[in-house]
């Protein structure tokens, strides 16, 4: 699999805290190919943002990482500082969550987009940097003249595009986008997603897109990985995960965003009771069982492993394919 642009193998990230070890990511495998958008879905605290920062070794100092992160065949976790610095920006870049506040308010956006080029591509002359900045702005659908604008002169959607332009400044092969459209309106979200997927198709870069909104991921991704409590619970082709999820958690995420026009969703918002488990207090057995509408006694002894279900699909649930009628919560309630 040395062919993959990015491959994570058995990645584990544990934060050391005053209250003891906090396992945020507990053994994740994931690959991103060139020209492909891979979505990572899950709710707050499932470890998806930790996963994103680990890809470029940006995790905080109190994190212990084991496993393997291979970028273009090279091991990110063990490479020297100089090599890592070369990989960041030029090899792979990140569009962070809350990007709207990540721009420096006192510098013009053109200078900010140009900065990574000046650092990582010192051979470029000023004029070349300027013309590249103009081209990048055009690619994300902004007027090149906006290079002279300050961040406060731009709207939220425009700032998000500036962040994307900046991530693309050094022609990276991989872009990690952490909630790139959260906090944007539907129309602006559509504009930004069109820009992102267009860039992936045109430039053949690979992209890892992180979101809690499965409907957004289903719209632009080729494949989706669903995470719960630090592990992968389901993966497969994007459309299938959204339309016909196997794991009950993916099912809950999928139905949380109703299809407008679906009579079944009228006056019937679908929710999932309870909160995700705390990383330092994970339930035994399947970590999703306490919230799962299909949980049964078989879910309790061990945490289920990912098992294949047809072409390119896998899910970690022992109840898939089993009859639904076993009444469920009661079983768990009675046993605990």
């Amino acid at each position: 699999m040395s062919d993959s642009l990015l491959s994570l193998h058995d990645l584990k990230v544990t934060y050391t805290t005053d209250d003891g070890p906090l396992p945020a990511v507990r053994g994740v495998d994931l690959t991103v190919e060139r020209g492909q958008i891979v979505g990572v879905a899950g709710e707050s605290g499932c470890g998806k943002s930790t996963l994103a920062s680990t890809v470029l070794r940006l995790q905080p100092a109190n994190a212990t990482v084991t496993g393997e992160v291979r970028f273009d065949g090279r091991d990110i976790l063990t490479m020297g500082w100089g090599e890592l610095r070369a990989v960041r920006w030029a090899g792979a870049s990140i569009v962070f969550q809350g990007a709207l506040h990540s721009l420096n308010p006192v510098h013009r956006i053109g200078a900010q987009i140009g900065e990574p080029m000046r650092v990582h591509m010192p051979e470029l002359k000023d004029g070349q940097v300027r013309s590249r900045v103009g081209k990048l702005l055009e690619q994300v659908g902004l007027d090149p003249a906006r290079a002279k604008a300050y961040p406060h002169q731009l709207s939220g959607g425009q700032k998000q595009r500036v962040m994307i332009a900046m991530a693309l400044a050094c022609d990276p092969q991989l872009v990690v986008a952490d909630e790139p459209t959260t906090a944007l309106d539907v129309m602006v979200q559509a504009q930004v997603l069109t820009v992102l997927s267009g860039l992936v198709r045109e430039r053949g870069v690979g992209m890892m897109m992180i979101s809690h909104d499965l409907s957004v991921l289903a719209d632009v991704c080729d494949r989706i990985t669903v995470m719960y409590a630090g592990r992968v619970v389901e993966l497969g082709p994007a459309a299938q995960i959204f339309a016909a999820p196997l794991h009950p958690y993916s099912d809950a995420l999928s139905s949380a965003f109703p299809r407008v026009g679906d009579p079944a969703a009228r006056f019937a918002p679908a929710g999932l009771p309870g909160d995700p488990p705390l990383p330092w207090d994970l339930p035994g057995g399947c970590t999703f069982a306490p919230r799962c509408p299909r949980a049964a006694k078989v879910c309790l002894p061990a945490e289920p492993e990912l098992a294949p279900y047809g072409e390119g699909r896998a899910a970690a649930c022992v109840r898939i394919g089993e009859p639904d009628e076993t009444p469920v919560r009661n079983e768990i309630g009675a046993s605990s």
Binding site: E43, S44, S155, G156, G157, Q158, D185, V186, M187, V188, Q189, A190, Q191, L193, T194, H212, D213, L214, S215, V216, A218, D219, F242, A252, L253, S255, A256, F257, P258, R259, V260, G261, D262, A265, R266, F267, A268, P269, A270, G271, L272, P273, D275, P276, R291
Partner: protein, 331 residues
């Protein structure tokens, strides 16, 4: 009990630093009836939050009227206090809206104390706070009394805010983006709560949101705003399955899961409210105007502003010259 809150041709202006006047609301109409769930949808900058604030008396319109049970809103301190006994606002962003130094109990009891409701009720304050928390789905309520906002999950904080509003037993709740900051799994729970409150207490709800899926989930009626004005309104089924206005059609087409629609991605963003375009305010971004589909009425689009057209039998109304010409409904 009648509990109808409505805005009629409301205009609200803000002066900007450069001395220009931004018309955040420019002739907005909206009615929320007793026990009705109404969704007010639009993009950022459409004026939906300003309209919600105007309805509860936080903004004072320069023209137009806001009526509560048929009477114009009394903007005196006493008048507004009386209004808020019946109409409660649930703010966006539960972490920012809760006082970090107030326990859950204090936050919920505040409204009871402001409106001096404990003495009238014949119950103890503790009982009323517990009842409000329980109505908001926080059970058992006593375990939460002494918790602080930072100790709660996002969903719990949102429920505490709703409990604070419910404590005064209002007849109408105005919720500004009640689930936008919540995780997908919690979203449905909060929306189900709003529906349950309507069922239990006959509570009317005005929910302000940019999320059309949310409107489909819970709203009886929907009003779509663009640049300070409602451009389409009607029963949710009609507006969302057979939208008339080109703006509503575009909004619907870009919802991620709507694969069956050809996405209409409008160029640019809502214009600055200090520079509202002449004629139909939507025409500079209108896909029909741009494609030539609206050529027959293009002069009107450019030059004549228009209000909501008369309603069809189902109460579905929109503001579009082309729709008017085709329906022959132009008066």
């Amino acid at each position: 009990m009648s509990a109808e809150l409505s805005a009629h041709g409301v205009r609200v202006e803000f002066s900007t630093r450069t001395g220009r006047v931004a018309r955040a609301l420019d002739g907005a109409d909206l009615t929320v009836g007793a026990g009705e769930v109404v969704a007010l949808v639009g993009e950022s900058g459409s004026g939906k939050t300003t309209l919600a604030r105007t309805l509860i008396g936080l903004e004072r319109p320069v023209s137009g009227t806001v009526l509560w049970n048929g009477k114009p809103l009394d903007h005196s301190g006493r008048g507004l206090k009386a209004l808020r006994r019946h109409v409660q606002l649930v703010l966006q962003d539960p972490l920012g809206a809760l006082n970090p130094r107030h326990s859950v109990y204090e936050s919920v009891a505040e409204g009871l104390r402001v409106h001096k409701l404990v003495a009238k009720s014949g119950k103890s304050e503790t009982e009323l706070v517990a009842a409000a928390l329980a109505s908001a789905g926080l059970r058992p309520p006593e375990t939460l009394f002494l918790r602080y906002p930072h100790e709660l999950s996002g969903g719990q904080r949102q429920r505490v805010l709703i409990a604070g509003a419910l404590a005064v037993q209002p007849s109408l709740l105005i919720a500004d983006e009640p689930v936008s900051s919540l995780d997908a799994s919690i979203r449905g729970e909060i929306l189900a709560l709003l529906l349950k409150l309507r069922e239990q207490f006959g509570l009317g709800v005005l929910v302000v949101t940019h999320d059309l899926g949310l409107a489909w989930n819970i709203a009886d009626r929907i009003a779509v705003m663009y640049l300070g004005r409602v451009v389409e309104t009607g029963p949710t089924e009609d507006v969302l399955t057979a939208p008339k206005h080109p703006y509503t059609q575009a909004l619907l087409s870009v919802i991620p899961e709507m694969e069956r629609l050809e996405p209409i991605v409008l160029r640019g963003e809502i214009p600055d409210p200090s520079r509202i375009p002449r004629g139909c305010r939507f025409h500079p971004r209108c896909q029909w105007f741009a494609s030539g589909a609206a050529d027959e009425v293009a002069d009107a689009c450019r030059g004549t502003a228009l209000p909501l057209l008369p309603a069809d039998p189902d109460g579905h109304r929109c503001a579009c010259h082309l729709v008017a010409a085709r329906d022959g409904a132009m008066t």
